[in-house]
């Protein structure tokens, strides 16, 4: 299977968006288990959409949490509750009399509380507003904390990738024609993932483009043209590459490198 083509087909995005049939979903899962780069890609898509959703988060009104917990309690213990409710009905007698008097006892209490409630209303509204604002602030903090946690997790993953015993780093430097240019290739031999990062590279002249090459047994292998990426990009994994090079070509690239500007050998 051509993993790059598979990823580029957009099927993983559809998987995360829940737009696949169950058969297709199974296929994606099998592939994700088999190929780590597919799993990595899936994770990245999920994380991006999760963060996007976080940016659109809205705090639900305060009392809702209690309602939810109450409902969960209800569905978790439906039976015991019903048994308890039946008991008072059966015991009749004195209790029934008391129940008959209940409205007369409750009515005055209700009146008092209504008056109390009326005067307390304004205060309450104010408190409600303050508590809602505080609730919102708390949510903001939590969302921010979650985002930072994700970020830390990402740092950890990135450090693991770069420091992984199977990751090889190739520093590529500009030659005489492009002094000071610097790019890096990070290849993980186990997961067969390669990242290409531009550290310093001048903008190419108009109608020109840089093209990345791997050198395998003195033969250049085309890894594609690129416009200077701000972030590292995943590129083809080329097994047995002895060196990497960047040439300056006419827009669209060339079949063979014509004007090599940046070069770096793999150290063994």
């Amino acid at each position: 299977m051509n993993i790059k083509e598979y990823i580029a087909s957009g099927i993983l995005e559809q998987y995360v968006l829940g737009n696949l049939s169950s058969g297709e979903e199974r296929e994606v899962l099998t592939n994700a288990t088999q190929y780590p780069e597919i799993r990595t890609e899936l994770n990245a898509i999920e994380t991006a959409l999760e963060q996007y959703t976080m940016s659109n988060a809205v705090t639900p009104p305060p009392g809702l949490k209690d309602d939810i917990l109450k409902k969960i309690d209800e569905i978790s213990s439906v039976r015991p509750k019903r048994e308890n409710e039946e008991k008072p009905g059966k015991s009749g007698g004195g209790l029934a009399k008391l129940l008959a008097w209940l409205p007369y006892i409750l009515l005055p209490l209700l009146l008092v509380s209504a008056i109390w409630g009326y005067f307390g209303y304004k205060d309450n509204k104010n408190t409600e507003k303050v508590s809602r604002e505080l609730g919102q602030e708390l949510t903001d903090c939590r969302v921010e904390r979650k985002r930072l946690q994700d970020k830390i997790e990402f740092y950890r993953t990135a450090i693991q990738f770069v420091n992984n015993e199977n990751t090889r780093t190739v520093a590529m430097n500009g030659n005489k024609k492009l002094l000071g240019a610097s790019t890096t290739i990070h290849t993980n031999l186990a997961s067969k993932i390669t990242y290409f990062a531009v550290n310093k590279l001048p903008k190419p002249p108009k109608n020109m483009q840089y093209q990345l090459w791997a050198i395998v047994d003195n033969t250049p292998v085309n890894m594609g043209v690129f416009d200077i990426p701000a972030d590292p990009i995943a590129v083809d994994y080329i097994p047995n590459a002895q060196a990497y090079a960047i040439s300056l070509e006419e827009r669209g690239g060339a079949a063979e490198p014509n004007d090599v500007r940046v070069f770096g050998s793999v150290e063994f």
């Binding site: 899962l29 963060q51 809205v58 705090t59 639900p60 985002r147 520093a171 990062a197 701000a230 590292p232």
Partner: protein, 195 residues
């Protein structure tokens, strides 16, 4: 670079599997604003949205044994349940509305104590996302927030399904770029190279 889980996610999943209600407390704490945000995008009524959010938590609780971390992140599962519940609620409220025209209109935002101004949780992140091309946000919004199928979204945007699919991928790639996950790698690589 395998499974990426934050600790809190693992904790919630473990509690859910044990049937511990603490899972719901934590889920509410960490995810309810995000899920509520999705619901509001679909149902547009706060009264209905609150019902749907309750419904979502009940569904999560009842189906907790169905979550499988091999299939994806907890949030992806939650978002899927949320989208489906919202769409169902919208459908049945429309149905009710057809039969009883005042149903929704009377309930929407009239009670000032119930309606509170939707608040965007993280303005920094929001600003970053605002720099995303509208062409891309509208696609993500339709598919992810409003739960459109590909064919529905293609119809809505008046483009072929094939174009929609490739644009979806571009949109999410662009989103990933903007969210700067990979930017962090750049910094790291620069740092590591400098040493």
């Amino acid at each position: 670079m395998n499974k990426k889980h934050t600790n809190i996610e693992d904790k919630i999943v473990a509690l859910l599997k044990q049937g511990d209600k603490e899972a719901i407390v934590l889920l509410h704490e960490y995810y309810s604003p995000a899920l509520y945000g999705i619901i509001l995008r679909i149902v547009f009524s706060e009264v209905l949205a609150q019902e749907v959010l309750q419904d979502v938590f009940i569904k999560v609780w009842k189906n907790s044994d169905k979550y499988d971390s091999d299939k994806g992140k907890l949030f992806t599962w939650l978002a899927q349940i949320t989208r489906n519940a919202s769409k169902d609620a919208l459908r049945s409220s429309r149905y009710k509305q057809d039969n009883k025209t005042d149903m929704l209109a009377d309930n929407v935002g009239n009670d000032s104590s119930l309606s509170h101004v939707p608040h965007i949780a993280d303005s920094g992140l929001r600003k970053t996302i605002d720099s995303l091309d509208k062409k891309y946000t509208e696609i993500i919004d339709l598919l992810y927030f409003q739960g459109y199928s590909h064919s529905e979204a293609a119809k809505e945007l008046n483009i072929p399904v094939g174009t929609l699919k490739s644009r979806t991928r571009k949109a999410i790639l662009e989103l990933r770029r903007i969210l700067g996950n990979e930017l962090i790698i750049t910094l790291l690589i620069i740092l590591i190279n400098a040493n």
